[in-house]
Symmetry: D2
Subunit: 461 residues, 4 copies
Amino acid sequence: MDKLRDFCGVFGIYSKPNSKSDVAYTTYRGLFALQHRGQECAGIAVNDCGVISTCKGTGLVSEVISESDIKKLSGHAAIGHVLYSMHGKPSQQDAQPLTFRHGKGNMALGFNGSITNAKKLREELCGKGAIFQSKNHSEVIAYLIAQERLRCGSIEEAVKNAMKRLEGAYSLLVLSPTKLVAARDKNGFRPLCMGSLNGDVLFSSESCAIDSVGGDFVRDIMPGEIVCVTENGIKSDTAYDGRKTSQCIFELIYFARPDSVLDNVSISMARQAAGKRLAVEHPADADIVIGVPDSGIEAAVGYSRQSGIPYGIGLIKNRYVGRTFISHTQGRREQAVKLKLNPLRKNIEGKKVVLVDDSIVRGTTCKRIVSLLRDAGALEVHMRVSAPPFINPCYFGTDIPSRDILIAHSLTVEEIRDEIGADSLGYLSVCGLSDVAAGSSLGFCEGCFTGNYPISGGENE
Amino acid sequence: MDKLRDFCGVFGIYSKPNSKSDVAYTTYRGLFALQHRGQECAGIAVNDCGVISTCKGTGLVSEVISESDIKKLSGHAAIGHVLYSMHGKPSQQDAQPLTFRHGKGNMALGFNGSITNAKKLREELCGKGAIFQSKNHSEVIAYLIAQERLRCGSIEEAVKNAMKRLEGAYSLLVLSPTKLVAARDKNGFRPLCMGSLNGDVLFSSESCAIDSVGGDFVRDIMPGEIVCVTENGIKSDTAYDGRKTSQCIFELIYFARPDSVLDNVSISMARQAAGKRLAVEHPADADIVIGVPDSGIEAAVGYSRQSGIPYGIGLIKNRYVGRTFISHTQGRREQAVKLKLNPLRKNIEGKKVVLVDDSIVRGTTCKRIVSLLRDAGALEVHMRVSAPPFINPCYFGTDIPSRDILIAHSLTVEEIRDEIGADSLGYLSVCGLSDVAAGSSLGFCEGCFTGNYPISGGENE
Amino acid sequence: MDKLRDFCGVFGIYSKPNSKSDVAYTTYRGLFALQHRGQECAGIAVNDCGVISTCKGTGLVSEVISESDIKKLSGHAAIGHVLYSMHGKPSQQDAQPLTFRHGKGNMALGFNGSITNAKKLREELCGKGAIFQSKNHSEVIAYLIAQERLRCGSIEEAVKNAMKRLEGAYSLLVLSPTKLVAARDKNGFRPLCMGSLNGDVLFSSESCAIDSVGGDFVRDIMPGEIVCVTENGIKSDTAYDGRKTSQCIFELIYFARPDSVLDNVSISMARQAAGKRLAVEHPADADIVIGVPDSGIEAAVGYSRQSGIPYGIGLIKNRYVGRTFISHTQGRREQAVKLKLNPLRKNIEGKKVVLVDDSIVRGTTCKRIVSLLRDAGALEVHMRVSAPPFINPCYFGTDIPSRDILIAHSLTVEEIRDEIGADSLGYLSVCGLSDVAAGSSLGFCEGCFTGNYPISGGENE
Amino acid sequence: MDKLRDFCGVFGIYSKPNSKSDVAYTTYRGLFALQHRGQECAGIAVNDCGVISTCKGTGLVSEVISESDIKKLSGHAAIGHVLYSMHGKPSQQDAQPLTFRHGKGNMALGFNGSITNAKKLREELCGKGAIFQSKNHSEVIAYLIAQERLRCGSIEEAVKNAMKRLEGAYSLLVLSPTKLVAARDKNGFRPLCMGSLNGDVLFSSESCAIDSVGGDFVRDIMPGEIVCVTENGIKSDTAYDGRKTSQCIFELIYFARPDSVLDNVSISMARQAAGKRLAVEHPADADIVIGVPDSGIEAAVGYSRQSGIPYGIGLIKNRYVGRTFISHTQGRREQAVKLKLNPLRKNIEGKKVVLVDDSIVRGTTCKRIVSLLRDAGALEVHMRVSAPPFINPCYFGTDIPSRDILIAHSLTVEEIRDEIGADSLGYLSVCGLSDVAAGSSLGFCEGCFTGNYPISGGENE
């Protein structure tokens, strides 16, 4: 069974029974604000006094859920999910929330992350007669909660007990007939926060979704914390076992939306700080600083601020190219870069350019962008990367391709510079990540850069 | 959890590995021939040397499975399913075959019928930690087989053991990485037969599908029989426990296609025999015998043959009206009858007409047809029904609406005659069913007519 | 420009302004009853006090027009169209009604038939600056009416003048801001009749649609007649020039629905009469008469009545196969026959069978059916065709393939019998057609059988 | 007949017959780069040695044209079109290119702009028997070219003669069996340029599309110029009549993509120049300059450069919200702004902010953005608009809503400031537009700001 890790987003809302809140529509809007976390499946489950209904499928939120679907999903609590799949096109079966009936009732579950001991757990469960209808980890979590629920008095306790058996990265929302439970893995790999909206309780992978639905940010869920919302209020419990926390540094560098604040860190500020530090570590004699849209813009602004070199717009991104077949056809990839990014000749011509991006993976796209800039008249191109070189796999949900195709795995910085055709190349140092993460209430996992992982991921499938 | 009984159809094919048979395409054609058994979901699962792939969804076979889907489903064994749902619109989740992984491998399962102890089994399974993602009975069967498989040495043995715990009506096809298993419930409620095609083994709910794909009928699967096909040939075993068999009489009267032969009974002949017996039991002084298309045609031909009254065509059915929204809108039902059936005035005008159909449920459609015929100039309308009055519910997969709306439950034959506005009305007697079933190798369940059920159905949900 | 002849169906309704009639929904139902006349495009145009709105596209009525479309199409008069295209898949551009603005207002037009001087007219119009956006004949008619309208005082007069320039077969409905005009070609090739429904005026290609919407048949439109309906009532005028009328005999034999009555002829009766005459012309020593469903059923009943040989059901047609890809794939045609028709072995076995159909075109399907019957145990197969041999092309809208592939064009009856493998073969004689057409108020075109055409079609594209 | 002005984009390519160029695919990619000019319809027409095929419909390029469509569209010359409709949802009928047959052959036509004498021309044409199947101006142009073609020897001459009768704004591509003709209106309202790609000739509304397909910019088409490309090369002719040229200033301010260069003006530079001038005309005492994404970004960068106030990112735009139903529901508009734009609190909090956008139309969106910034902690908000106030309608294709809802039409600048809640408000002066247009080879139409129109538009519908 191939692995299907889930780097995704979750959103939830609990309103009191008989409230006038349109919980499905709020969830729908919340999912839009989290759409960048997954474009392959979307779904909403709504609890209407014990009856849980679901609308889910493959595609963008706007493709999967229609206005009439929203109208049908009435209720007083809801959870939603957007899915990003790392391997192959997901099927209808992979869409979350997963809705199911267990020994003590029914439940819906939305989950974001990757369970590192999923294979072992699945084997154990199968050994006792379980069946698995999909390859994703949510069924594993569902079984654990269902089985714990038989043994203990409440759904939140069942979640807590299940968390003791789960290893890896996960943020979890569980909708039961009377409760909404939110939980975050003991390391705090994936973000999860709480908000409020006219007295309703909100949960979201990122704070930007709480802003977008018009709510107020309340606080982050702590690593290992289980928050349970009922008609009678909010209760918190914890499965935290004292371990060192390890938020995924990649959330700050790449995943999260710039307007989110995760565990006290403003993503925009973190990326600007990366750019500033980069300007200190790798200064350049140049006329203009430009960013690769959209991922390199914030760091470019930071680089400009620190270095005093003017910030400018050097590449225009076509907003419509995303879902065209061009981007999917292997042989036409070269054309896709041209279609996606066009240099602004008048801003580039005759100039020494600092080009900022957040990463170099294979090196091929970067090479083409450097070449585009030279064709547009750039005298020099100084590549700056606002993260250290990727050299290691991730076991916790980040889609890092096989080591062999990571350019930084096999080449030195100077060889990479030569390969991409830049005049100079500078990566942020691993030490420099401390500027990115400054102010965070958590520790960080930097395994993809350093190979030091906070927990074992070796038994993963 | 609401019940979702499955009156459906299954088709399967086993070809040796490395054969040139296009098993998916043969299954696709087989499902077309069984489309009358279920129009709400369709699906095919194909085994390609241990990898089982599925294509399924809601809608007709032609809507769910495209030519390009068929091309992708390569393999050497396949099972297919068409689903009829008795309650509400089924979701994607209800489509079969159900594909899953269990403790000893992976499996696909297609099932036709209704498990009468499903509720109890589901509770037992949940009590041990199982979760159920849908309301249909196939998940129950899947768990039983998966759990038995842990205890015994082969999939066919697991099926046999599971059958000991299942009560009710079911025909079952199971696709494992190396085998195709077919099984029929111990009473033989639902039909299942075996065929051959260029050395490949076929299974089908009805023989018409074996004909349609160009195969040869071999034999019926016996009640309680388990047939297992592997590379090494066909083996038969049985879970039959000596009970009295009870094929569903309604398969003969209504469900099956007229060109099928079920357990030695030609459906067309059975219906003609019903019409002949009806002519003896309820003769009429008339000029023409007509049938309500398509369900009453065969019995009308039989009535004509026996009575000597000429057979004629009196009502034309619109072949396109099926999937229009007209048929779904409550308030527009009256208009739907007109759109669906139009009398052939020139054949009817000035004549005394015998009108034959296979059933009267609510009586409303029948009333409108009688009225249509009178408007078209019929002097007299003598209604003849080729089955006894429906008065009882069915626990074994037949979609008989609640007793209260069954006209024969609350009115006498004379009152029904008055209600539908016919000049006379005659139902086939229960004794007369023996003519319908003449030659069958099995006993019959006539519970819907008599209230005498072969097994208990009382604990059903 | 390739020809795209239109053998299609039209339906229209005129209700007074401010009436409560749902004219779009009535038209929708009318089109369902005419769906057999064209399955490739469908459309409805509605006049709401001068504003004409249209919903049209490629596909079946149920695919093109949704319930919400119907709700949007409010108004007091409407016309609808179903299109059958003889050459290739039609595009959106070919769907009718054609809605356009001309020198004196706006108009919608639905047309059924084939204009034999279309090429010449199109060239004339282009020579004066016209442009043509499609290949179908409706644009030609639209231009003629638009140009005549500039010269004369009313739309009905414009239609009349246009008819003087049009040659060929056509039934025409024109919707103007205040009128509904119906017209039929001077030969009366294509059918068109008038009905009434609660005071509203109906027009339809066939009477079955008037029945189906619950209306009353009033009368046929006469060849060359123009009927104009306004708020003030119905007026009739004529462009008839005394020529011999020539209804298409093929409407009786094949096109029309059996429950329609065209120009005094009941289609069902006509086909039964053909079967009776056939029994006289070509008797057979046989045990059972069967028809090829659905086209040969009525004639088979007639043959049985005349000959005294019992009528029976020998072939079951799969109602779902129509829109599967199987039927479109050249290499899989043989399999398609099996999937579409299955013999009823128990009715056939050991019997001498008379097999009745309405035509033999290429001979391939017929050959396969004969073979199916023999495989099912028929002792003898006596093929009877309820029309004379096809040997000539049609210029008036009937889709007769190129002469070269017409089996009757190159082979004698005995050679055809040998080719299809029947024990005997008999076609209806040309003289026999008089029985089919008995009682008609019109003359007939039998050009496809005799080569004698009522008007020249030679200049057609 | 309601007006349907076309602010759209065109792209064309001419390759020699038997070339290996994939002209449809190049056009497809060109349309992607022009997608911002129209998202409501898309289409491509391809000429394959005289046979012109079309694929078009409603929606984005990626929705209308599939990879398999592109494969079917083989040929050596092509034109493409994206449509923006100002009034209501366009229908299939409005999609361009318009393909038609005329007196001397066949032709496809793609057109961008608005014909101010369309009503008069349409009436004249109808008076001579023309019919119009849509409301758009392309049919008018088609008739004129078709009619001129009857009188003169070539398609390019016909285009030239037609241009003498057309008033208004238009860029035009015409595909004939042997030629590709490009023409630009005599005032030069709408842009059109020429490029080359491996020896093939390209035309495009904007230079960004030439870049995007990998081509080289050659030159702009001059006002009134007709360029005709054949197998034998490129010929230029002109219908220019000496009038003052008047490029639409709004193309520079809003329509065109920043990476385009129109008539010697770099759009990005023009917008930065507007920002710089704005900083001179309306300085502010502030801590940060932010732009409303995406329309105000370039001007904000210019303002920052000129003023020395640091540029920053203050608002994050959700890239996925575009096609959700939220944006279409009137009552939910307020929620849509929140969903679309989220302030970056950490960049805004405690700061005096200069907010730059390119326009204020109704004022409602602007008011909400100012309020969002204040909620995010901005101490002061200084609104700066990089264009003069809109106060007049446009007759040449710009979608300016009715004067009554233009806030600048009824309120003074101080009243607008008060209404939107800003601390100060400054618009670019009309004089300042000279900085925007600096270097252009053409004059400009600034009618929407000044009410001085270069030609009469009063007779427009």
